[in-house]
């Protein structure tokens, strides 16, 4: 009986690992997947892309950004475009991300960030987001504290 349960547990662990999205292996893949994840607010893709879990503060910031964009545009699902540039070759590095929207109320708003990609345990993941202005890094995860 206990052996049966153990086999079941191993099966569940293996199945979850197998079903988890494939890891990104280059900065380009991270950039592509990040845009897809952001467009759909895809939590699954977000889990795969981050190096560390975001802090509660960072979750709040993201939520405020989403709520703010909704209020300004007056729609629940504002049309937002993501423009990726300066993607280096290789498994780690930084790329630029520019977020704009044509929605009324948001057409003046623009968000520019530098996304930091690191290679960890054979996968490329998002380690943090920098403000392009001052070069100060805001790390995603506990290192930010």
């Amino acid at each position: 009986m206990a052996a049966g349960v153990l086999v079941l547990l191993l099966g569940i662990g293996g199945a979850v690992l197998a079903l988890s999205g494939g890891d990104a292996e280059s900065v380009q893949e991270v950039a592509d997947q990040a845009v897809e994840a952001a467009e759909d607010l895809d939590v699954d893709a977000g889990i795969d892309l981050l190096c560390e879990k975001p802090t509660a503060e960072q979750q709040d910031e993201l939520e405020e950004l989403i709520e703010g964009a909704r209020e300004e545009s007056g729609t629940d699902d504002p049309d937002v475009s993501y423009e990726v540039s300066d993607v280096p070759d290789g498994a780690s590095g930084t790329f630029d991300l520019r977020v704009t929207s044509d929605e009324e109320g948001l057409d003046d708003a623009e968000l520019e960030v530098v996304v930091v990609v690191e290679a960890q345990d054979g996968r490329s993941c998002i380690a943090g987001v920098e403000d392009p202005g001052n070069g100060e890094e805001e790390v995603v995860g506990e290192e930010a504290d």
């Binding site: 009986m1 569940i12 293996g14 690992l17 560390e52 879990k53 802090t55 509660a56 960890q120 506990e142």
Partner: protein, 119 residues
């Protein structure tokens, strides 16, 4: 060790896991669970609740298992399945030692099932 000992160990580890998810992992549980459910991720939201509520379910199952071991066997299996699935999915986002807690939970939980069926 008796069923009582292994069951107590299982419940204590379940409390530790629940405490980690609720307070130690740096997430606002209520907020996050509601957010996930609203965004179309009821699976992740349900998982959060299950890990946090598992100790209470296990205590109930232990009390219900005086005559027959099956409530305990089922509750522990579901609880361990949740922990293993969560660890497999979120390993890179959790602290490095959580796999050791999951491994301990599995060993103690399986021992409790063996002793429940043997008593």
């Amino acid at each position: 060790m008796t069923f009582r000992g292994w069951a107590t160990g299982t419940i204590l580890i379940a409390c530790a896991a629940a405490g980690y998810v609720a307070f130690g992992a740096g997430v606002d549980l209520l907020h996050l669970a509601r957010w996930l459910a609203a965004r179309g991720y009821p699976g992740y939201a349900a998982w959060l609740w299950w890990v946090v509520l598992a100790p209470a379910v296990l205590v109930s199952a232990a009390l219900a298992s005086r005559r027959t071991p099956w409530p305990w066997v089922v509750a522990v299996t579901l609880y361990l399945a949740g922990l293993v699935a969560g660890q497999a999915r979120l390993a890179h986002l959790t602290d490095g030692w959580t796999w050791a807690v999951v491994a301990a939970a599995v060993v103690v939980g399986l021992a409790s099932i063996v002793s429940a069926l043997g008593d």
